[in-house]
Subunit: 204 residues, 2 copies
């Protein structure tokens, strides 16, 4: 990897992670993208079905270093679809605000959204499975895996786990107040941002 185009703390842009527009909203900084993956309570996972049509499903995830683990069931579409090295796209999106502009066109949202493209791997190694399941439980609350009964072999066997390498990743985000065309500045409409806040109360 070139140290110019892709230092260790940045993802190398690819054709799929290079936007056609609003390039100023896109970042390849690892730390920023990982903060979003770590904060998002769920992600959406897309793959191509056997019929050639796209499928998207929500699921729960945890990031461990440069790998994103997705939880599934061996009986679900995700588990059924999982085979060595199949193409997936994953997004985790957090909405931070509704942006009210003086014009329809500049209404927008404040958000942080990570998109990942990868070849997914079905995790079969027992040690990797165990530590990923532990990390998934600990995402609910720090140390929770020590405050609950670990999975039995039967329970373990009923859970599917996909590993998504975090290499082709981009973060798109918007923050701040509304954009306004200069000609709209004097229009008698209110503008501003409504904050969107997600709170989790009562973690055990």
């Amino acid at each position: 990897m070139s140290t110019i185009e892709s230092p260790a703390d940045h993802f190398a842009p690819t054709e799929r992670t290079t936007p056609n527009r609003a390039k100023e909203r896109v970042s390849y900084e690892k730390a920023e993208a990982y903060r979003v993956l770590d904060e998002a309570l769920h992600c959406d996972f897309a793959f191509v079905g056997r019929d050639g049509a796209p499928r998207v499903l929500p699921t729960f995830h945890v990031r461990v270093d440069d790998t994103l683990y997705l939880h599934g069931s061996t009986g679900s579409s995700m588990g059924m679809g999982a085979r060595e090295g199949f193409a997936v796209s994953v997004t985790a999106t957090i909405v931070d605000g509704l942006v009210f502009s003086k014009s329809w066109f500049h209404h927008s949202m404040n958000y942080r959204s990570v998109v990942v493209h990868a070849q997914a791997r079905l995790v079969t190694d027992p040690d990797e499975r165990w530590s990923a399941f532990r990390a998934l439980i600990d995402r609910f609350s720090e140390g929770r895996s020590d405050r609950s009964r670990a999975a039995s072999s039967k329970e373990n066997a009923a859970s599917a786990l996909l590993a998504i390498p975090l290499a082709e990743v981009s973060l798109k985000q918007r923050a701040g107040g509304p954009n306004e065309d200069p000609a709209d500045e004097d229009l008698p409409y209110e503008n501003g941002v409504a904050e969107v806040v997600t709170t989790v109360t009562g973690r055990l």
Copy 2:
């Protein structure tokens, strides 16, 4: 449509909207699914790229009767990919709680998640575009389209709009407290649900 398999207030299940497991969590009731689409602040939109790989992108949506409109830009992947009758899958998911069980295996989330499969249509009719854009603005706040400047022809031309017919739709949801195996009931671990609440403050 058969009135037995699909009364007017229910979607007819298809192979893609019939789960392999957890069937008790799936509903085809229109009113329930529409409440989730109307409450979710954003949705994720999947399609198959020209390279055959899946793409998933977040976007903003509005439902008008039995159509879901997705907002895009003519310059974005969504606009570029849009062509008459291309296959898409859309999900809108709301997380309501983190479910702490006495066992790793029964840790779960409370959520409501709609998945739609459809052939998307790029909206070109000027009247349909206008009323869908108005509805998108009014989703930010009731009547907002009358409290902001309507789109100019140039702004209108820069916005892409996809229409997704709501016919192949399912709602998956979980609510309530943790499941516990009878053998775990006496384990000395706390269990319960942490509520996840999303609030929007200061709509204009």
